[in-house]
């Protein structure tokens, strides 16, 4: 008989190994799924994981990995700070939208002024917008003890309505023949978040994502605030005795994650997306939650997880185009990744024991 036994201490080895095992398990079971759909599993897995990196057109896909991965990493880094301390910001998608709207709003207000300060102002605005949106659940929690999970999530839908209203009204392109959507910021040089080196996919958002990884690493390992975050997550009572002020921590964690999500939105709207439109948001804020956990809430882990997630997206599209796999199968495949990760997490805190069956 197999029994689950709680480990006296959570296993460090398993904590590092589960993401890798989860990826392997996803490949095996995902491959089986593709096989049932009539595609050679090896070809499908190869297309998803290898084609974007080493295939014939890798020169195009590699930069795209940065474009797709940067917002995920940027948002996930912010979320991980709160998650570590047990503060659950589920509404990054909304903060992403508001950041984009504030940033784009600044750009459109200055249009067509050609000036160096427009883009820096947009960056500040994007971060401030995202932070302000995250401050709503933060202040409500601090002041009235509301649940930040619910409040931040509900505010996503408010932000979406706001986005639609902006795309149809205030920010609508006056030269757009009545169609919704703002001017394309890619055509407004002062506001365009262009690639820093053409063809590399490297835009300022990618740079910010890398900086965020380093900052988070230093913060968590070398700074008092980082220590407080970790302590609050691991032992809330001990944290209180150690003099951690929960209110300050809540404001910091939600504020920081909101600002980073807002930045991600700003870089997206002024770069790859180009315009404010009704369906501008494509779920980065939610996917980043998966990325944060896949990366074990560790800055370096998140960087890798963001890359992996971007890989499955881009590889998934290639698999659709080349092999005719339905998009639903790709989504199931991505879902498996999180499922296996969470399921295998069990092994971090528990171990299997073979015992002799006892007679009742």
């Amino acid at each position: 008989m197999i029994r689950l036994e709680k480990r006296p201490q959570s296993s460090h080895t398993w904590s590092m190994a589960t993401p890798l095992v989860a990826v392997l398990a996803t490949m095996i079971f995902g491959g089986a799924l593709f096989g049932i759909l009539g595609t050679n599993p090896l070809t499908a897995i190869r297309t998803i994981f290898f084609e974007p990196l080493f295939g014939e057109f890798a020169f195009y896909y590699r930069p795209q990995l940065l474009v797709k991965g940067a917002p995920l990493v940027l948002i996930a880094i912010g979320l991980s700070l709160g998650f570590r301390a047990g503060i659950w910001n589920i509404g990054a998608e909304g903060q992403y939208i508001i950041g984009a709207l504030v940033g784009a709003g600044i750009a459109l207000a200055f249009y067509p002024l050609d000036a160096w300060f427009v883009f820096p102002l947009m960056i500040i605005g994007g971060a401030a917008g995202g932070m302000a949106w995250a401050m709503i659940p933060a202040l409500l929690k601090v002041r009235f003890g509301t649940n930040e999970i619910l409040v931040s999530l509900m505010l996503v839908y408010v932000a979406e309505q706001f986005l639609a209203s902006m795309a149809l009204g205030l920010m609508k392109n006056p030269e757009g023949f009545g169609f919704p959507g703002s001017r394309n910021l890619q055509e407004y040089e002062s506001a365009h978040n262009a690639e820093l080196i053409t063809g590399t996919g490297m835009h300022l958002g990618v740079v910010f994502a890398l900086i965020a990884v380093i900052f988070a690493y230093v913060l968590l390992n070398r700074h008092m605030l980082g220590f407080q975050i970790r302590l609050t997550g691991d032992a809330p009572r001990a944290a209180r005795f150690a003099g951690v002020k929960p209110a300050r921590l809540i404001l910091f964690c939600l504020g920081a994650s909101g600002a980073l999500a807002g930045l991600a939105g700003l870089f997206e709207v002024s770069g790859p997306a180009g315009q404010v439109n009704i369906d501008f948001n494509v779920g980065y804020g939610f996917t980043a939650i998966i990325v944060a956990f896949l990366g074990r809430l560790h800055p370096v882990g998140i960087l890798l997880a963001g890359g992996l997630m971007a890989l499955t997206y881009i590889g998934g599209e290639i698999a659709q185009g080349q092999l005719g796999l339905p998009s639903a199968a790709i989504q199931v495949f991505q879902g498996m990744l999180l499922f296996f990760l969470l399921a295998l997490d069990l092994l971090t805190n528990y171990r299997f024991r073979l015992t002799r069956g006892e007679v009742a």
């Binding site: 090896l42 474009v67 009204g169 009545g178 919704p180 315009q275 009704i278 501008f280 659709q320 005719g324």
Partner: protein, 357 residues
Amino acid sequence: MKLNNFLASAAMVLGLATAAVADDKTKVGFVYVGPVGDGGWTYEHNKGRLAVEEEFGDKVETVFVENVAEGPDAERVMTQMALEGADLIFTTSFGYMDPTINVAKKFPNVKFEHATGYKRAANVSTYSARFYEGRAVQGHIAGKMTKSNIVGYIGSFPIPEVIRGINSTYIHAKKVNPDVQFKIVWVYTWFDPAKEADAAKVLIEQGADVVLQHTDSTAPQAAAQEAGNVITFGQASDMGEYAPMPRVSSIIDNWAPYYIARTKAVMDGTWESVDTWDGISTGMVEIGEISDAVPADVKAEALAMVEAIGSGAYNPFTGPLKKQDGSDWLGEGETADDGTLAGMNFYVEGIEGDIPQ
């Protein structure tokens, strides 16, 4: 090591295989905004794709990617198709407009066809269908059949395309039923069965016994069936599984002839950038069978209208017509020009409510 060898050889086989087919076949790509099984918009585009395959057999290879978000994702999918040797790419949603133009700039030898947009280039054509012609027929049937005099309308996005449909429906419902009243709900999605069902239920609760939709799923049909005594129309696709009630007729987008013609043009080297806007006359817009739930005289009138629009004898936007604010739009006998229709951003007189801003 063994696994590596295996993967390498698998890669080689695949590489050879794709290289072999890429040569003389004409490769046609399709980018879809919804799933091919939506039963509406994307479903019909995919039928067009299958028709291309059937028409040209071995001479053509088609690829598609479904559920592609409008924006950078669309741009990447199009680039991917172009890189992999597509000769012609159909991008089938309005939101793919700027991405299509961007990618077309990078691949001057690849032809692009963007549905429902207004930006063209030397290698980008646009095409759309005059769905409003079909809406006129639906408006006539709706006006005749409503007992509560309340017609519900599920709008997707308040863009000219959709507003044109609402106006055309309203004008023709009002013509046969002066007491008719329209209730419009905006759902801000092309395809979301849950939202569409909610919208249909709200409209039915408000007394609507006709529900029209500019969204792609059959959820409104299901909601109407549940409520009973509510009629609907198939949108983009026939949705015939809900006939004879609640679906009493439909607008069918028939893209197949256009897709075949454009593919042929690429094969023959005669492809040129054009702006196509066809309707009932060329068969791009078809009216699905009018079911027996519609009284025979109404059905006859509707069919006569289809005939008149098809032959060009009747234009659904014929004056006298006024705008919602009471100002004159079209004088007696005057018909709307395509420019005004393409950018239509006003309701005609009599429709209540504002276009969302």
